[in-house]
Every structure is written in structure tokens, then in C-alpha cells.
Amino acid sequence: MNRCYLTLSSTLVMVALIAPIGRAQSAEGQGITVSGSAEVKIKPDQVVIGAVVSGEAELTNDAMVKYRDAKKRAIAAIEALKLPNVKVEASGVSVSQAMDPNAAQMMMQGRPANVGKSKVRAMENLKITISEADKSTNDALMDVIMKLIDAGRDAGLQIGSAMPSNWYQYQMEMNNGGGNQDIPQFKVTDVAAHRDEAYKKAMDDAKSKAQHLADLAGVKLGRIISIHASTGKNGNANRPIYPWMYNGGDEPAEQEDLTSGTLEEIPLKVTLSVQYEIEK
């Protein structure tokens, strides 16, 4: 057993040197480990536009009337467009103390600020969703998006992040990781189906590489011992996949977020690290 290990190790090191197309190494001297990768490009099927509807006033009732009318008007304006596959979802209203942003910034600097009278702010995030976006041409989809943004802004919705009012404010936002001015987010909703396709291609790629290495080494490729997967837009969501694929159990939670700020096909990259046994 020990001898076999040494022999195989030497062989694999040599193969790795002469076969740069694939990464092969021994895993504790028990097989062949290769990396298989695949990328599928998916047209986003959903567009999400975030918006904020709010009302602020000294009198709570005024704040609620403003919030109510702003929401009512925004939804009516969007519905009036009669666009198919467009849905507006509200996240629920929150009521909080409001503060003048200028006064807040002055106070943060330790300077006297005109805080004014206490105000109440009623606020709710809205999510405007266009579904089946993949069935439209890009031009048609952008046309719908522009209509929604214009209708929302005409109705007084804050769409996207609020614009800074001066250079310093802008600088602070950028320093704090802000500055993303993308308004629509293009998403792939059914990642699982596309990931399976990518996995299959990656497995094929891995098997091909492993078989090639085995052939070069003059050994027979055995069963898979372990698999590690990395998926996502950049293929960097690393997680063990073997127990699920080969031994059953719970499917790993879907955490991948295939989202882009630009209207383009979003790549889903899968990288598998597959360890094969060498049959004796």
C-alpha cells in the first residue's frame, strides 16, 4: 500500500508538470483530483427597481397622508402604464423620527445645528419587478424600464439612491462604500436549473481531464471520492457538494445571487474539484 502510494504520487507529480490544462494532484495519495469548470451565460429573466415612498411632517397625520398619497399615486402611475409582467411589492411601512440631513451632518461635525421641530417620517420600500424579461428584446425591455422610472419619478418616487447635494457629501458616500447609482437590477431567478446544466458541463470537463491523466499515468480511473464546488458569477461560492450529490441529504441552500446592474447575459461559473479513486 505504501509503495503504491509512492509510485502514484511520483507519477501524478510528473503528469501535473506535463499537463497544464488540468490540475491534478493526489489527495492523501488515494486518487486523482482534477478541477473541472464550466460557464453558462443566462439572460436575466427579472428586472428589479427599488424605490422609496415616504411622507415626513411635524404632524403624524400629515406624514401619513403624504405617505399614503405618495404610495397611491406611485402605484396608480405604474399601473396606468398597463405594462404586462410588472408588479409592485411593498415591504411594509415604518414610522420613525425624521431629521433634517443638513442638521444631522452639522451635528456629526460637532457644530450647532438647526434641528427644528421633531418630525415623523413614514417610509416604505417598494420593489417594482418586471418578470419574464428574458422573453423581451433588450430594446423592448429597456423601453419598459425607462417608462417605469419616468412614471415613478413623475409620481414623486425616490428611485435609486438619493443624489448627494454637494461634493463633500458625495465624497463621504463614496468613502463609505456608496456611490452605486445603478437603478435597475437584472436578475436570474431560477439559478438552480442553470446551475445543474453548469455542473453537468463541469463534471464532464473534470472527468475528461481525469481520464486523460489516468491514461497518461497508465492507471484506471475509479469512482469519485469527493467533490468540491464553487459557483456564482465568478465561481467563488465554495462549498462541499459531494454528500448531496452522491450520498443524499439536504440540498445546499441557494445563496447565489445572479444579479447585474447592466442588461447583459449573466455568466454562471462553476468550478468543481473532483477526486477520483484509482482502481487497483
Binding site: E58, R73, Q105, M106, P112, Q171
Partner: protein, 677 residues
Amino acid sequence: MINIADQDDDQPEQHNTNGFSVHKEDQKTIEQFEDFQRYSEKKAWDRAFKSLGTVLDTAKNSQWLVPLRDGFFVPTRQRVADCLMSLPAEGKAAYRLFYDAQAKQLWDQCQADEAAGKGDDLDKLRNVVDRYLITGVGDVAADRLGDALMEAGDYMAAARIYEQVLMARPDSELPAVRLQTKRAIALLRGGYSQAYKELAARIREKHAGELVKIAGKQMAVEDFLDSLEKSVKSSATQPTHPTTTPAIAEQYPPIALPTGDAAWQEVFLDSAINEQISAAGNNMGWGGQMTGLTNAAPAAVADQRRVYLNWYGIVWAVDIDTGKVAWWSEPFKALSENNKAQMLIQFMVDERRFAVVLAGDNLLTVAVRLDRLQNQEPFRLNCLEAATGKKKWSSETGSLSGWAFLGSPLVMGDTIYIMAHPRENQQLSLLAIQLAGGQLLWSRELGQPQLVNGWNGMPIYPVPSLKYDQGFIYVMTNNGATIAVEAATHSIAWSFSYEIPYEPPNEGGMMVINGMWVRAGGKAGMEAGAAFLHDGKLIFKGGGISAMYALDLAGPKLSFKRPVDDDQLLAAVDDTGLYLIGPYFSFIDSQTHVLKWAPPLPTDGQRVQPLRAGNDFLVFTGRGIYRIDPAQQRMEIFRGIDVDSLGGSLLHVGNKLITVSNRAVTAYVIAAQTSAR
């Protein structure tokens, strides 16, 4: 007649309260009123009257004010009159004993003057009434004063005087029905319809069948009231304050939104000038951030032929039919040449202070000469020939040369009323100026505004607005006080103080981020205040103030105060509602003061001024012209062609709707059925 406020050694006491400070009597004088109250309660009449006598003798200026109630201040003499009227019968009897002789002497003098053909001297009559209303001759003197005020068209003051006689002199031999009827006439002529209705009902009930003799005619009071109402309705001369409010559609014809392309557009802030102004700001480094120079729409006004504009002192006229420039004071590029843009920034020239107003064939402008900014040139009042732009007169010379002008002028007949401060100090005064030649008729010093200094240390003045009604000029200082000045006597009738936000000194409009001063953002440019007269009430909101106020002018008394957003502009008041524009349009029920509807509105420009169109409002924003229907809670938008602008004001002339933005003047043809107003 020139009446410059007293400039004696005794400086008026300035109360360092927040906001505009009117001239108030010193604390000792105010305490005399408290002494009067205390001695009156003890029936120590001699001491009580002595206290009032001390007030009248020692008061520094009869125009200086003493507190009354609810934020109101009245002139000392008015307060004295109120104190005398509040005396019980025993006190009034004592007062007559002390002062009947003096009163009769003064009254005889008034009568002698009249007999000599000198006419009524309002000041003398007032003096008798203020001091001696409760004496034997006080009632007839007051009756005469009321008549004189009626003749002068000062109906509200007349109504007040008749009411004072009724209250202070129930023992008067003057028939109560006659005084009440005169009071009713004053209210009806003055247009205080609701107050008239209530009084007429009381007269019909209390004095049914009594005869009244007015203007030589004697008849039953009910018949007289009937004929009075008919005569007012059929009168060709409309009172200043309409007796019956015309339907909104009559006052403000409905205006359809345009449907087609613009008839013409005249761009004054073209890309070349815009770039030059931006470059000028950039060359100033940090100071360049302090400008919103290209954000302000010019002040604009129109007659049937031309639109007149004032853009940082460049004044020009545009032909409404063709859109061509009829005349200009200088080309637009003058603003971007010879460092003028930099000087405007450096000297913090306040874009709110440029104004343009039509007065017949005259065009009045308030502007600063850009070529003299370095000499601390003040804002000047100029009178131009509207047809040609030729200068008729200017405050650069003559009796007005020492004044710096603030806000839009108000023209009543041949008189211009406008606010100003002397170049050498900050005291604000109301000026009356002859329209024809620009002569100063009189000035009335009103008090000291609360100023803040901008980033370069220059003071930032409030921009007041003026209203005229029933012989009174109402001055909205937009700085914590609204002041009523009687035009005939140019005396202060009362002042109302309200709360304004505290502004740290030297930080007006500025804020600090990362240790650097920057221009504060976030406000929608709604700094202008506005006021409306409706049903005997002055309803106003100061710029940047988070409340609106309604003052019942018949009191005066505070009718209501209602919190609103500080960045909103009061746009209109009618029987149905109170309307404000800003980041939200607000429709507030006029009876309950409950906010009924408040949709958001993308207003982000300066000088955004709505246009009432029937029951609707048109608002020109950076996203187009909004037509807002508060009754149906609907909005529609006409995008138009000036989409690169921040919005601005609207003018309606003939079949054209004209938008004035921070970059262009644009005319659209509107449906023919909407007529010019």
C-alpha cells in the same frame, strides 16, 4: 410728505428674540400698563390714570409697540385706548371728571379747523379718540374719525372706530342703530362679507323697525340695509376686498395643458454661457461651490404683448407673438464676461432679490448693477419704459439713493410701496414712492431683521412681501413678523410676531462637512414667503418657516396657526382649501385644517411659482408642467421641451402658456377656449 423715523439719541430697545425685532417701548413703559391694571383693580383711579399719563408722556415714540396678546404688538396709544375702554363704569366716570375739560378743548380745536375749511386732521382726531374716547366728547370725535376714515377708503379702521364707540360709550347720545349701520356699511364696502352678514342679522333683530338717517335719508334700518346690499352688488366699482367671492373659475379661468410643440423658445442660459459660468466657479476653487447661480429662474411678468424678465440685473422683453427679444439692457453673455459671475458668487448676490413688476406702461425692476459690485452697490429700484426699456428714473440718484431695496414693489395707483434698508444700517423700512418721478413720499421704519452672514461674512437679508387691503399695507417680513401699516397715516397699526428657526450666526445657508464649509443642500428653493387675503383674514407663510398663520384683521387676532413644511410655498387660499406647493403639493381643508391630499411633486428649482387655473393648479417643474386637480385628486403632466431645466414660473397670456425656467423662456399654444386674464 416725508416722515423719516426718529433718529434721536435714545436708540429703540431691540429685543434680542428670535426673528424680526419691531421697535418696542422699554420695560418701564410696559410696566406702567401693569400698574394701571393693578390700580384700576384697587379703584385707585388717580394712580391708575397717572400710570397711563406717564405712558403717554414718557413713551419714546407713539409708533413704538407694546405687547397685546398672542404675539400681537400695538402702538402705545392704541394700548392706552384699549385700557380706557376696559375701565368699569366707575372708572370711566372718574376719568371724565379728570379729563373732560382737556378733551373738550382738543375737540373744539378740531371743529375750529374744520370750520376754517382745513378739513379733518386724522392725527388730531386720533389723538382725541385715543386719549379721550370715554370722555364727554369722545363719542362724537370718534364718530367724526370713523366718517373721515370712510371717506379715505379705510373701511376696516372706520368699522373698528364705530365699534369702539359702541363698546366704550354705551351712554352715548349717538343712536346705536346709526353707529351699527355705519359699521355695517364699512364692513360691506370693505368686503368683509361674513362679518357684515353677522352684523346685519344682529341689526335686523335688535333694531327692527328703528329709523336710521344716513346721508340725509331717513328710513327703516331693514330697508336701508336692503338698499345698501343692492347698491353694493350693482356698484361698478369693486371694493378692494370683494364682497362676494367670485367663483374660482371666474377669477382664474381654466387653462388646458398644451398638447403640441412649443410656439417658440428663447434660451438665455445657453451651453456656452453655462460653461463659462461653471468655469468661473471652478476657478474660484472652494468658493465656487457656494453658488447656485445657474439654478435660479429670472423674475418674470407679462402684459398682452411682452414677457419682461430680470436675470441677475439683465432685464429684457420678449415679444409674445414671435418669441424675439424686443429689447434688452445688455446681452446675456454679459453675465459670464468680465468676471461678473465670479463677483456674483464672491459678493453673495441674492437671486431672490431681483424683481420685475409692471405698473401701467412702466416696468419697475429691483436689481444690482454688476459693474459696481465691488463698491458695495446696493439693490436699486428702477423705472423703465416697458415698450422700449428706456430708463425713466432710478434710485441711483435723488432721494432714494441711500436705500437698498428688498422684494417686489407693490403699486397702488400712483404710489409704489416697497421695503428697503439704509445703506449704512440694517433697519428695514416701508417706503412710499411716487411712481411718476421716483420721489420718496415717506418712509416708516419697522424694525431690525434677524440676519445671518453667509460664507464670506456678507449679511443675508430676508425678502419681504407686501399686500394692500383696505388702506393697510401688510408687510410680511419673512423673518418673524407681519406688520400692518396704515397707508394714509403711514403709522404702524399692529405687528404680529411668530417663531422662526434659529440660524447659527455666520452659517446662513452653509454647513460644515469634514471641516469644510459647503452650501447647505436639500431645500427645494421655496424660500419665498406668500400671503393671501381671504374673507377678512390675512393668511401667510414665511419662507423657510414651518407654520402658516391666519390673522383675523377685524381683531386683529390670531385665527389659526397650522404646521406645514418649511420648504413649501403657500400657493392659494379659497373657501375650500389652503394650497401649498413644494416637494409635496398640499391641500388642506379650509374649515378643519386637516391635510386632505398631499402627493409628491418634483420641485427642485428656485422661483417655482404655480399658476391657478380654475380649480386646478399648474406647476412648472424640471419634469414638465404638472396640472394638479385637488378636487379630483388627479395629476397630469405635459413634459414640454424645457426638460433640461429645473422648472420655474408660469405666465398665461392670451392663447399662450409661457414657462420661465432657469435656462429658457418657452411659449406653448393652448386651447382657444381658455381666455387671458
